[in-house]
């Protein structure tokens, strides 16, 4: 048993259910995410991955079910309060602030989600260092609408990083990218994980999931069908059936 397994979970999801009218998108999902873990979330289209993310980040209200983050029940909290507690996310389809430059996009997060009061100069320095890490240093004053697809993905991650997260949820940050770009984004995520940020990664690109994750969970029709080491989950018969059909 490794040390991380004995620690209290960073995020604990208990019997989470989400219904849209008569359709049950998530059915009694329970899972613990450990501090510092690299967690992969997979499943066929419509299996409830993004719904789960929306429930964690607060975009959807859940009933019944509870979400504990660092031992605090965050279920009743609005999204911005969860962000301030340390949960950040990117979106499957990038959602930049379109009327703003890259710098301004990050400044929103720095202005509103910062935990302590720091001077404008310090915030600008933080912004620049995040952009440099993400390889967007040269795009500071470019309008968000003028970025390429891969740059947009990186900016989403940069904006999420600007909120100073403890848990980062990346929702298909690599969808639609070329293989070299996938590697680029993957390296970025790995470098973030090495800095004590817990990461949940939703992805369809299996090589990326295998390379990134310490643990993988597979959802199908709103239920967990497998959870464990990446190679075990891939070998699971039900996972293969869910992806390929029977």
């Amino acid at each position: 048993m490794t040390l991380s397994e004995t620690q209290a979970p960073l995020l604990r999801i208990c019997a989470l259910t989400k219904r849209f009218g008569g359709f049950t998108a998530l059915h009694r999902v329970s899972v613990d995410i450990r501090p510092g873990e690299r967690f992969g979330l997979i499943g066929p289209n419509g299996s409830g991955k993004t719904t789960l993310i929306n429930c964690i980040s607060g975009a959807f209200r859940t009933e019944p079910g509870t979400i504990l983050f660092r031992d605090e029940d965050i279920t009743p909290l609005q999204p911005h309060l969860r962000t301030r507690r340390g949960i950040a996310r990117s979106f499957q389809i990038p959602r930049p602030f379109r009327s703003m430059t890259v710098a301004e996009n990050l400044m929103v997060a720095l202005d509103f989600a910062a935990h302590e009061h720091v001077s404008v100069t310090q915030r600008r320095d933080t912004m620049m260092s995040i952009l440099d890490q993400m390889g967007l240093g040269s795009k500071v004053n470019v309008l968000a609408t003028q970025l390429s697809q891969v740059e947009l993905r990186k900016m989403e991650l940069a904006r999420a990083m600007a909120t100073h997260p403890k848990l980062l949820i990346s929702d298909e940050a690599m969808a639609g990218l070329s293989s070299s770009e996938v590697d680029e984004v993957l390296d970025l995520l790995l470098s973030l994980a090495s800095r004590d940020i817990t990461i949940i990664m939703i992805e369809h690109i299996m090589q990326a999931v295998m390379r990134f994750s310490e643990r993988v969970m597979c959802l199908d029709a709103g239920r967990i069908i497998a959870i464990g080491a990446p190679s075990e989950v891939m070998a699971d018969k039900r996972v293969q059936e869910a992806y390929l059909g029977t």
Partner: protein
């Protein structure tokens, strides 16, 4: 204080001084009558754009706020014989409460649903006032102006100056909001509300704040109108024209910058005044419609947007 701030406040003082000098020098009363309406348009457009422009929540309830301002004055005068500053302050207070109530009721709705709710608000309040005998009901009410205080020769001159002060106040607040964290938050939620929430922006609270400030200003701006006309009736105080022209002025000027509504209001307000006098008041409505169509098609970001675009092109050309 930054250099921009100093320049702004010098401009504001010069503007107010010019208005004051005008009231002392110009003998003809007409420029003040017409000028008052233009100043009122500027102030309304600026106040409107705090919610309608920065936050992108299109409020059709300008006439509701304006009318409530007028009737707050009417009530304060009939009940207590309150002086003008107190009328304006009452208007602002009532407007803030109304903004808060409207916000709590409607700001969870987005887009067109919010706009429709604000129209409904106008109708509800107008109906209420129409049936309230104390403030004149449907027939309207006459108001006696008190004696004018020096240095002004006539009451209209004084109102003209007071409205100029309200313009400066509205612009200063709007400018402060745009340059502060509030403005950045509002701009973020206008672009994408969910992304803003997930970046830590308390969207509902910021929208409420914008609604309260915008509402308080619009009511305060309406308050002196009772004294200006010496008469108030629900039909004209709650006239939907205020909503439409205010919106048109902001959109034509451009809502992304605090100066946009000022430019739009001066342009449109002056044109309307000139056309009303030289041709007819019906033609000014036609021109309003035409200009709105022209700008929506040709310059959807308004005059400010157009200027920025031209500047941007020039910059790109230089590189």
């Amino acid at each position: 204080m930054k250099r921009n701030d100093i320049a702004f406040w010098i401009g504001a003082v010069v503007f107010l001084a010019a208005v004051l000098v005008m009231t002392q020098v110009v003998a003809n009363q007409y420029p003040f009558f017409a000028g008052y309406v233009i100043l009122q348009s500027i102030a309304l457009a600026v106040a409107w754009s705090i919610l309608g422009g920065y936050a992108g929540y299109v409020n059709f309830g300008t006439s509701a706020f304006y009318g409530v301002g007028v009737y707050a004055s009417v009530f304060m005068v009939s009940a207590f014989g309150a002086p003008l500053p107190l009328q304006i302050l009452t208007g602002a207070a009532v407007g803030a409460l109304m903004g808060l109530a409207l916000g709590l009721l409607t700001l969870r709705m987005q887009g067109i649903f919010f706009s429709i709710a604000t129209i409904a608000l106008t109708i509800v309040i107008e109906t209420t006032i129409t049936n309230w005998r104390y403030v004149g009901g449907a027939a309207g009410i006459q108001i006696q102006r008190p004696a004018v205080t020096s240095p002004f020769d006539s009451y209209v001159q004084m109102l003209f100056f007071v409205q100029a002060v309200l313009v400066v106040l509205a612009v200063a607040i709007s400018r402060y909001i745009q340059n502060s964290w509030i403005g950045r938050g509002l701009q973020a939620l206008r672009d994408d509300e969910l992304a803003a929430e997930c970046s830590g922006v308390p969207t509902l609270r910021l929208k409420l704040l914008a609604c309260v400030i915008s509402g308080a200003l619009m009511c305060a701006i309406g308050a002196p109108a009772a004294m200006y006309l010496q008469y108030a009736d629900p039909g004209s105080a709650f006239n939907l024209n205020y909503s439409v022209t205010t919106l048109a002025m902001s959109l034509i000027g451009g809502t992304a910058h605090w100066a946009g509504p000022i430019i739009g209001a001066i342009l449109l307000g002056t044109t309307q005044q000139v056309l009303t006098v030289t041709i007819s008041s019906e033609v000014n409505l036609l021109v309003l419609g035409l200009m709105l169509v022209l700008f929506v098609v040709g310059a959807p970001e308004g005059i400010v947007g157009l200027i920025n675009k031209l500047r941007g092109h020039r910059k790109e050309g230089e590189i």
